[in-house]
């Protein structure tokens, strides 16, 4: 099954990004099914999974059928046999940032989902061990959210030193 056919099946036409990869948009309900269909159609490897916080973004180009939400989960998949990539983008709402875990399909997504949970605060339902991975366990907040300050150390200037 080609990527175009899957996009049509899901009701969302794939768009092409700057790097020439096709992006497929889907929603939370059909996300897990879509990934498993992609897996069955030859995408052997889930290369990358990350979350993006779009708070404060002046406006991204999305297909008309997709309602923008604050968070987005981006899954980059790779087909070694067909030598091509496909990107799956899912909108995740700010109020209930929960999405299905892909651990049962790709065990390699485990660390990546933990990273997205740790840094963005998206929870993955069905993940076996959803704990922080990069930050200390008692850390508060999710650092890669846009409303999380970058932090700075106040600089104190001493008096101008006298002539030496």
């Amino acid at each position: 099954m080609s990527v175009t056919a899957i996009g049509a099946l899901e009701g969302f036409a794939p768009t092409t990004s700057a790097d020439g990869t096709q992006s497929v948009f889907t929603d939370l309900g059909r996300y897990h099914t879509l990934i498993s269909q992609l897996r069955d159609s030859g995408f052997e490897m889930l290369v990358d999974l990350c979350g993006v916080d779009y708070l404060g973004h002046p406006g991204r180009s999305l297909p008309e059928a997709v309602a923008p939400e604050r968070f987005e989960v981006v899954v980059n998949m790779l087909s070694l046999s067909q030598k091509r990539r496909v990107r799956v983008r899912v909108q995740v709402s700010e109020h209930t940032p929960v999405i299905d875990s892909l651990f049962d399909l790709y065990p390699g997504s485990e660390a990546m989902e933990r990273e997205a949970f740790d840094l963005i605060g998206i929870r993955f339902a069905g993940h076996p061990d959803l704990t922080r991975i990069l930050m200390p366990d008692d850390w508060e907040g999710h650092p890669l959210r846009k409303d999380y300050g970058i932090g700075r150390i106040p600089v104190q200037f001493k008096e101008t030193p006298g002539p030496r």
């Binding site: 993006v52 485990e110 660390a111 990546m112 366990d137």
Partner: protein, 474 residues
């Protein structure tokens, strides 16, 4: 060591109970309170390896290295793992983060039965410096200085992939010479990175002479980097729009000497390690991996190739001018430590082969794109041209603006697929930069590779995975 932590059954939160402060450490170990020995300051709480009865079945299977997909019907059923093994017969051992063989600050928690490893859990984050967050505050001009510090063994690959991502959004066309210079520097960097791996792997196997020899060879490459870029490591040489400076006069001779010397020395490594029975005993059949498992765990680079999958992005999805040079993709058969050793040793030779072709093919021309919006003007022009002064000022204060969009670009770093997912909002700073570090994915192989092996082989296996913690933790 007096503090006490109790682990809740819901497997997420950890409560601290001050009433138990008086309980001695020995008591806690006898009663099976696993977290008791770790003090409150150093505990990673729920991130640590937990007792079997406090771990849910999926996670227990993962830590035991059961990775194959459930739906394929070939999976190790988590309930079939001998979950009833009494905890007082096994020992949970902490290894790292301050351990010389963990290649930085990797921390492993191992459950041992005697000397046999049953479960493993890598605990990472000790080198987390918030580089992805930092990247959002830096312009694209400054970004390379940030990313070059991620995988500190192969800094040029980080710069390359960041620059390629920015350029794919910008839509600028690279001059031929810039592309070839990038290839030259990256292949030299691949040799340097693999040489460090040869050195540290030899050290882990008890061959400290290998440590000295490989570092000697690597120094030649780093000296060439210093001559070309001004710095031995973290060069900030490859930038969006080209490279920072042209190659120095007489670079052909330097590179030819590097190629000749290192190629000859790799055959000395054969004498020292490849044919040595003790070394082979420690490497062959240790840390076995199949292609199915490697794909399921998102492993890339030498780990994937050692299982016989001929996947190298330079060949399979060529970037730069890799489709114009001849080289072989080295693959293994058994997926064990020795295959990974052989792959890396032979990749040094293949890189030398590529570099020699680059020596012949290097064209004349610009080493960076002649676009005043992206490339700073030459120093001499600033004195005589108002526009150059303005461009220079704008570039180094505000940076250049990158059109709105998102892109994922990947290159084959010495460790595997190094990717950057870049989201731009049209300003001069990335809206979001996510780095897919190959070591981050490759570390997930550890529970599988270590299961059933001896504790002393764990050191060999960690070394064979070749994690660089700067890239894992970012």
């Amino acid at each position: 060591m007096n503090d006490d932590t109790t682990v809740n059954d819901d497997a997420v939160s950890v409560d601290f109970d001050d009433d138990l402060l008086e309980t001695s450490v020995v008591d806690n170990i006898v009663t099976g309170n696993q977290a008791a020995w770790s003090s409150r300051e150093t505990s990673e709480g729920a991130q640590e390896l937990r007792r079997r009865d406090a771990t849910q079945a999926d996670e227990l299977g993962r830590e035991s290295g059961a990775v194959l997909r459930l739906s394929d019907g070939v999976v190790l059923d988590p309930t079939q793992i001998d979950i009833d093994r009494p905890d007082d017969e096994t020992m949970i051992l902490n290894m790292g983060p301050q351990h010389p063989s963990t290649h930085g600050v990797l921390r492993l928690m191992l459950e041992l039965d005697g000397e046999t490893v049953l479960r493993t859990k890598p605990i990472i984050g000790y080198l987390h410096t918030g580089m992805e967050k930092q990247a959002e505050a830096l312009t694209y001009v400054q970004g390379c200085t940030n990313v070059t510090r991620m995988d500190y063994m192969s800094p040029l690959f980080n710069e390359l992939v960041f620059s390629l991502a920015a350029e794919s959004l910008l839509g600028v066309e690279m001059p031929e010479r810039a592309t070839w210079i990038r290839m030259l520097m990256c292949e030299l960097n691949r040799m340097a990175s693999h040489l460090v791996w040869m050195a540290t792997n030899g050290m882990d196997m008890g061959s400290s002479s290998m440590m000295i020899y490989a570092f000697r060879e690597r120094e030649m490459i780093l000296s060439f980097f210093e001559k070309t870029t001004g710095l031995r490591m973290n060069t900030n040489y490859i930038r969006p729009g080209g490279v920072a400076a042209d190659l120095p006069d007489g670079w052909e001779d330097d590179v030819a000497v590097i190629c000749d010397t290192i190629l000859e020395r790799t055959y000395e490594y054969d004498d020292l390690l490849t044919g040595q029975p003790i070394f082979r005993e420690r490497q062959e059949g240790v840390g076995n991996l199949t292609a199915e498992e490697a794909l399921a765990l998102s492993l890339t680079g030498p780990l994937l190739r050692s299982t016989g999958v001929p996947w190298d992005l330079r060949r399979s999805m060529p970037y730069l001018n890799y489709d114009q040079v001849e080289f072989d993709v080295i693959v293994g058969i058994y997926g064990d430590n020795f295959d990974r050793y052989a792959i890396r040793l032979n990749e040094i030779r293949e890189s030398i082969r590529i570099v020699r072709q680059i020596l012949e093919k290097m064209p004349r021309g610009d080493y960076r794109v002649q676009d005043p919006k992206v490339t700073p003007p030459p120093r001499g022009r600033i004195d005589e041209s108002m526009e150059s002064l303005i461009h220079h000022f704008k570039l180094f204060t505000e940076g250049f603006k990158v059109p709105e969009g998102e892109t994922y670009v990947a290159v084959e770093s010495p460790r595997g697929e190094l990717g950057v997912y870049l989201v731009s909002d049209g300003s001069s700073k990335p809206f979001r930069m996510h780095v897919r570090g190959p070591s981050f994915g490759n570390l997930q192989a550890l529970p599988l590779l270590l299961r059933g092996g001896m504790m002393s082989d764990a050191v060999a296996v960690i070394s064979s995975v070749d994690p660089v913690m700067g890239e894992v933790d970012r």
